[in-house]
Point group: C2
Chain length 460, copies 2
């Protein structure tokens, strides 16, 4: 870590010049894949095609797997299938299945003949699982131990079988039919007595995922059990693959981004939305649908106001505070929805708590309503001092009426905001689709009804 | 994994009855800590005090570390310091420092005498680092190898030194002054030639964190390098601790929750907001500040409408569409802000791209404006067919004016929504504090100005 480090630009020029290339490769071979991928993604594709095969086979696969999907596809489409196949063979099995799912049918058919039988079978099997399930994100690179072995024998086998570059932290103990019967960490094996049976030191109580389990639930298990990898089994409890902790991190990021986008009325795509790689038209498509629906629904407010046109022209002061009432309602509703959606996502509350949640939100909103109505009351007195208050009502009485409407609006919209995610969840939906813009628009409508309802009651 | 499993209730009753307790403990000892913590957190504290010491020492520490913070503190406050100290000694060093930071000064002083010298020093040192830095989340449980050793010697040492329950995946190679010079995975060590020097097989290019590095940056490094643990070094490159991958997951969850709460105008606390454990008053305090500020700012809209009171009473139709214009502006602004904040959090764009971002948002908003204005134009024609349009303007012309104002409003608010997070970031703030309610309120004001501006220009 000491000594001077080369910048990406310096590495680039060393790779271009033939005489320094060999030395540069030898240095770069030692770098972490993430850094190497950064450097190699910044060089021209012609140079990349020359340089990449100079790295060790395992390194090539790992570095390429660390490329952005766009760059991976770009390289694939520029080189011969034969050249690509040797790289493809070396990729970790989960990234291999991932890029394979991005190929067109024709591209798949073109690539398959160049692959070894085992790779071909592996990639075809993995790419049949939906990408949002345990099967879709698992890797088939795992180390197994037969149940009859001693610790010594198991270590010998690992020495022989596991290539240098491959990561290996957990070992899975299986019987002759690949039924998963236990697991151990490599350390448990190393510190055990050499002639002890592996079955004597293995852990038999552990979490597993099933092939079709939702990827979010898989990530939550990895998080809950603080584990490095979660074994994935089929319905016969046979070991099919493992999901690594770094895939869990990726899933958590993707799901949370998706949740936030859904909540703000943006339709999430298959991949995490990459701001730069999404075109203007792509962004437009993701955003326009909710906006259009809500603009149309927004006209309902117009129709409500139209119904109260007479009241409005008789008491012009009412028009002034429509946006304030609407905004405060929208804000308190969205806040309540955010808090409830997060609490549900983190598993702190669930649908069975709905009565407790709504009761709690009711008490919170009563406090909020009291404080904000008081603020509004005095502000109206100050700001509308010179307004002409027709209909023989004192300004104080009018301010009281508007503040009371505001208080009702805050309580109603908080309950709507907290209740909508619960309702969506109750009918099997994702709470995050109870979008904040939808809440804003709904509480605008309820707010106007409350506002004019209170006004009619008090002033006319 | 086969055979019938006990439910939490069944475990509970087995633990209560003296004659089945020993058997239950033996079974539970094999369970993952997360499950065990769930069971033990559900039993009465008197029973817990009896039962917990029956587990192996390491298990006790790990299970207690998996308790919720509230339950950990609750137990601490109910038992004797001496009883607690033996549990405390067994906890992983990072959770130990974490709970220690939650103690009052008096509680710390009371506990310290019961601790061993090494634990006391460790916890005092760790708890001096701020909780949002690498030092604050790192663990001091790591395995080091001296640089002069052979692989065989290193393995012998691990066999001797590392207790059964401790996790161990990476080994750090240090010189006699604890300078970090390399690392290797346990697997690299196991498959190496026994008489090779550890320095020959270690990796020398790897990422590290500094003690005062922000925890979010630490989590991002763990994510980028797909590593299981990131070494933390001081300014002399001496190894001080490691941050585990599961801490990275926790940080990512916490930061994203915090971002979403900030964005919805909720003041986040030190801990991830736990919905149930936060009181009504606690929720109220977190939510009231922004709401109150924005209600006050919302009165600016009232003042703007007041200025245009004459126009409004002359052309009542204008009042009808105020909420629709305001909502659509708020929604498109919040959408733009969400997309930009996520892209910045995921490292896809940064402040240097601001021109490109704003230009892209301008093009997206132009498309949105065109579609929505068209929808609005026809809806106004349909809904206001019977309205009386004074001032001798045709309904078509009025509908055109309102739709044009809507189009301007969408473009302006999209740019404000995308620009505000960039601006906050430019001045060193967290983009997520460019709260969505603030954007809604700001674009309400700009929207009203545009609306009445266009109306005055066209109709009066």
């Amino acid at each position: 870590m000491d000594g001077q480090k080369n910048t990406t630009g310096e590495w680039k020029s060393q790779l271009i010049r033939g005489e320094t290339r060999r030395q540069a490769i030898r240095e770069l071979e030692k770098h972490p894949e993430a850094e190497l991928a950064e450097i190699l993604q910044s060089i021209d594709i012609e140079l990349l095609v020359d340089v990449l095969p100079l790295f060790s086979a395992e390194k090539q696969g790992l570095v390429f797997a660390a490329f952005d999907m766009t760059n991976r596809l770009h390289l694939f489409r520029r080189v011969s299938k034969k050249w690509f196949a040797s790289l493809f063979e070396q990729m970790p099995s989960d990234s291999r299945a991932d890029i394979f799912q991005h190929f067109s049918t024709q591209e798949r058919v073109n690539l398959l003949p160049y692959l070894s039988k085992s790779t071909r079978e592996d990639v075809l099997r993995l790419s049949t699982y939906p990408h949002d399930t345990a099967g879709g994100i698992m890797s088939t690179n795992f180390a197994i131990i037969k149940e009859k072995q001693t610790c010594e024998q198991a270590i010998q086998e690992i020495r022989k079988e596991v290539p240098r570059e491959k990561m290996l932290y957990h070992l899975y103990v299986v019987d002759e039919d690949m039924h998963l019967i236990g697991y151990m960490s490599l350390k448990d094996l190393v510190i055990a007595e050499p002639n002890e049976l592996v079955t004597a030191i293995m852990q038999t109580e552990f979490a597993t995922a099933s092939l079709d389990e939702d990827r979010e639930s898989v990530a939550k298990k990895i998080e809950k059990y603080d584990t490095i990898a979660l074994p994935v089994v089929n319905e016969n409890n046979q070991l099919m693959g493992i999901v690594h902790h770094d895939d869990a991190i990726e899933v958590i990021r993707a799901e949370q981004t998706e949740d936030m986008e859904k909540f703000m009325g943006i339709i999430p795509g298959d991949e995490v939305l990459n701001y730069n790689q999404t075109t203007v038209l792509g962004h437009f498509r993701k955003r326009v649908i909710w906006l259009a629906i809500l603009t149309v629904v927004g006209f309902v407010s117009g129709m409500i106001i139209q119904r109260y046109e007479d009241a409005l022209s008789a008491l012009m002061i009412l028009a002034l505070y429509i946006p304030m009432i609407a905004d405060t309602g929208g804000n308190s509703g969205s806040q309540a929805a955010t808090v409830v959606i997060r609490a549900m996502a983190l598993g702190q509350v669930n649908i069975n708590n709905w009565m407790a949640i709504l009761f709690k939100e009711m008490r919170i909103s009563a406090l909020l309503a009291a404080v904000l109505a008081l603020i509004a009351f005095f502000l109206i007195l100050i700001l509308s001092w010179e307004s002409d208050t027709t209909l023989n009502h004192s300004l104080g009485f009018i301010a009281f009426g508007i503040s009371a409407a505001l208080a009702f609006q805050i309580i109603t919209s908080t309950i709507i905001g907290a209740g909508l995610p619960l309702l969506v969840n109750r009918f099997g939906g994702d709470p995050a689709v109870a979008a904040s813009p939808a809440i804003t628009t709904i509480v605008d409508i309820s707010g106007l009804l409350i506002y004019f309802g209170v006004a009619t009651l008090l002033f006319f």
